[in-house]
């Protein structure tokens, strides 16, 4: 009972945040190019976290952008975001299907798939972080972000999607359901499980 109450509370809190973000986002872009510019970095990192591969993430993003412009440029600007994420997640699912076939046909290529270097570590080592502030704080924040990245990559794909769309992109449950192609109930379940799992993984680390 307490768990379901927490879950409802969690969903309500996210809804408020997502509504606020939605209003500000609607003011941020008027044309499709502005929308793509607004969304591209976040979408790229979502694809990168889902695939664990930067080059594949770029390919997926390019395909998703191309398809959005090709098929849905006549839609209302408010519809672009759920449509774009729907395309993006279809592309990611296709990527995993192709990858599973490729792993069966070429099993020796399996080991080369994972990127050896941490994305943020390279940035921090070069000392070119865009964040302003104390180096120690920057380093700590970078470590936290890297831990979160690793934790997200441990989640199942659907939980990753639900978490990133709701927590990061700030989509409502309905928009997330449209983007993921499932019911709102499924979105709530995936999101709740993702938050619980992340709390289990990151709880001790974040308390330090």
């Amino acid at each position: 009972m307490n768990t379901s109450g927490d879950k409802q509370n969690e969903c309500n809190q996210v809804s408020i945040t997502s509504e606020q973000k939605q209003v500000s986002a609607e003011l941020s872009y008027k044309t499709l190019e502005e929308f793509l510019k607004f969304i591209e970095k976040r979408a790229f990192h979502m694809a990168r976290l889902s695939t664990s591969h930067t080059e594949d993430a770029h390919d997926i993003i390019q395909d998703a952008m191309y398809k959005l412009v090709e098929k849905y440029s006549d839609k209302m600007p408010t519809d672009w975001k759920p449509l774009f994420y729907r395309i993006l997640h279809s592309k990611i699912t296709d990527y995993y299907r192709r990858k599973s076939v490729r792993d069966k046909v070429f099993p020796w290529k399996k080991a080369d798939d994972q990127e050896s270097e941490d994305y943020l570590a390279a940035q921090l080592n070069q000392g070119i972080s865009l964040s302003s502030g104390e180096p120690a704080n920057m380093l700590l924040r970078g470590q936290h972000a890297q831990q979160l990245t690793n934790a997200i990559q441990q989640l199942p794909l659907r939980q990753q999607q639900a978490f990133m769309l709701r927590c990061w992109e700030g989509l409502s449950t309905k928009e997330t359901a449209t983007a993921m192609g499932c019911t709102q109930g499924s979105v709530k379940t995936h999101y709740s499980r993702a938050m619980t799992r992340l709390r289990d993984i990151l709880g001790e680390y974040y308390e330090q």
Partner: protein, 117 residues
């Protein structure tokens, strides 16, 4: 309350990741956006190439199959002839051949005996 705090921390870290996007990735994203907006120079889709290759193979097979069919009748009569000889009462032929041989042998022997005499 804990959920909201966790969520804010996660959002903060996710924004940090977004802000620290590598410059080469920003450049490639801008390039992808430009390609998408112009709807040109799209990266070739491998599945389209596979489908095109399969179609070419199918067409080649369809064109080559009738040509192969035309070349076979020239060979068939010879084969049919050989089969005809072989299949047409082989026992009678061998008997006929052996009778001829013995007939010639008899004449040869008779001439030989006559010459000796």
């Amino acid at each position: 309350m804990s959920n909201k705090i966790d969520q804010e921390i996660y959002q903060d870290d996710l924004e940090y990741i977004e802000q620290n996007t590598h410059s080469r990735d920003l450049f490639r994203l801008a390039q992808a956006r430009r390609v998408a907006m112009s709807q040109t120079n799209r990266r070739p889709n491998i599945s389209n190439w596979l489908a095109a290759t399969a179609c070419c193979c199918g067409l080649t097979f369809l064109v080559m199959a009738p040509l192969n069919d035309q070349s076979t009748p020239a060979v068939e009569p010879i084969v049919a002839g050989v089969q005809l000889i072989e299949s047409s009462d082989g026992e009678a032929i061998s008997e006929f051949d052996s009778m001829g041989f013995y007939y010639w042998l008899d004449i040869y022997d008779a001439e030989l005996v006559a010459n000796n005499d």
